[in-house]
């Protein structure tokens, strides 16, 4: 029942430090939604540069696992230990619909203690620079997904939690995402991605969920 992250431990100043020393440890993690046990006894340890790929059919609990790690859902059993700041790209982009993309991203970057330069770099990374001044409500599904990923990239968070990051992305955007993930890991970051689509993450630990059920 206990989760080892307090709400206060994840808000240090995020500056431009490279080579993060991040760590993520799940121990005997279990989650029940409603009456249905989704997973139990899940163990995982990721150090700097590590990655994990959560796979499984629809409704198996991939999103729930990410939300438990992010501290948005309580764990039914077991513990989550995180060392480092979290960046979470969920189903929703969490960007203000009426603001231009750049300014919507800048809101989160500022909240993370970041600079406009980080937003510019993230926009370049996800090939969004040419629509930086377009209001978020005008973006297509794929563009909104790229924008949500740009938000995580710009946050300079140590541990990325990506829920179906490949959804709606075209081939070029997917290659850019894979490159961004590789970059993040090279810098010492950790990536946990839940996906039912192929996503190239070399040496990623695979966590299949819901296949035994």
């Amino acid at each position: 029942m206990k989760a080892c992250f307090g709400p206060d431990t994840t808000l240090p100043i995020r500056n431009m430090r490279r080579l993060m020393a991040a760590k993520l440890r799940l121990e005997k993690l279990g989650c029940i939604r409603g009456d249905r046990p989704l997973f139990s006894g899940l163990d995982l340890t990721l150090d700097s540069g590590g990655a994990a790929l959560v796979t499984g059919p629809n409704g198996a609990g991939k999103t729930s696992l990410l939300r438990v790690i992010a501290g948005l859902l309580p764990a039914q059993s077991g513990t989550v230990e995180t060392d480092g700041t979290l960046g979470f790209a969920g189903e929703q982009a969490a960007l203000d619909r009426n603001r231009p993309l750049k300014s919507a991203l800048l809101y989160w970057a500022r909240l993370d203690g970041g600079e406009p330069a980080q937003v510019h770099a993230a926009l370049e990374t996800m090939a969004l620079a040419n629509i930086a001044d377009v209001p978020v409500r005008m973006l297509s599904t794929g563009q909104a997904k790229r924008a949500a990923l740009a938000r995580v990239i710009a946050s300079h968070a140590d541990i990325w939690l990506l829920d179906e990051p490949g959804n709606g992305l075209d081939t070029d955007a997917r290659a850019r995402l894979e490159a961004a993930i590789a970059n993040h890991r090279d810098a010492g970051g950790i990536v946990v991605a839940a996906t039912h689509q192929p996503l190239a993450m070399p040496d990623a630990a695979e966590i299949p969920i819901g296949e035994a059920a």
Partner: protein
């Protein structure tokens, strides 16, 4: 503290960039114009019921912004993003209450100027009404954010919000309208106490409601 100011500034910018601040204000003025039609143009009667009518209008106007206070941020995943950053739900609540009051209280007090003229209130009553609204709107803003958090995500949240909020706002109405009477000095303290109580409880109730709706 930085997060608190950043969130409050964003919410306030959203209120003023949309028409969010205008709606309660126009509604308040509309009710003020309706009363002379319903009661008749007799200045003596209007002057007597005017203050109470405006307090009732203020209460109803406080209901209007509820659906845009919490639910849109919940649906867009913004509240989740605050939580992932370790910003406590109570801090988010305090930021939202502050931003909501700035977008609601002062516009209401400005709208009370023409409204009091429409109802033929004298200068003394107007001053007491404005001071009462300054205090009471604090409580109403806090209550509106709490109720918004409680009904966010419920199917008919809008209708439920009125049923939840109006009974809880009754003390503000009673003591606010009571303070219009120059003989009822005690009403001021009770109005301040009711507003303060709502203001003190709201961040915790709102925070708990935001946590529960994530399940």
């Amino acid at each position: 503290m930085n997060a608190l100011f950043a969130i409050a500034r964003r919410d306030l910018a959203q209120t003023y960039s949309g028409s969010g601040w205008l709606l309660p204000l126009v509604f308040f003025l509309l009710v003020a114009t309706l009363f002379p039609f319903a009661i008749g143009p007799d200045p003596a009667i209007l002057g007597r019921v005017g203050g109470g009518a405006l307090w009732t209008a203020a209460l109803l106007a406080a209901l209007l912004p509820i659906d845009r206070l919490i639910a849109p941020d919940r649906d867009a995943g913004v509240l989740d993003q605050y939580a992932v950053r370790g910003i406590s739900e109570e801090v988010v609540a305090v930021a939202k209450i502050s931003a909501h009051w700035v977008g609601f209280g002062p516009p209401l007090m400005i709208a009370a100027l023409p409204a009091s003229a429409l109802l033929g209130m004298d200068a003394d009553s107007l001053i007491r009404l404005e001071m009462g609204l300054a205090l009471g709107s604090l409580g109403l803003a806090a209550l509106a954010v709490t109720v918004a958090a409680l009904v966010a995500g419920l199917p008919s949240g809008g209708a439920l919000a009125g049923l939840l909020m109006l009974p809880l706002a009754v003390p503000i109405l009673i003591f606010g309208a009571g303070a219009l009477d120059e003989l009822q000095r005690g009403a001021w303290f009770l109005l301040a106490a009711s507003a303060l109580l709502l203001l003190a409880v709201a961040p915790f109730a709102t925070g708990a409601a935001i946590r529960i709706m994530r399940e």
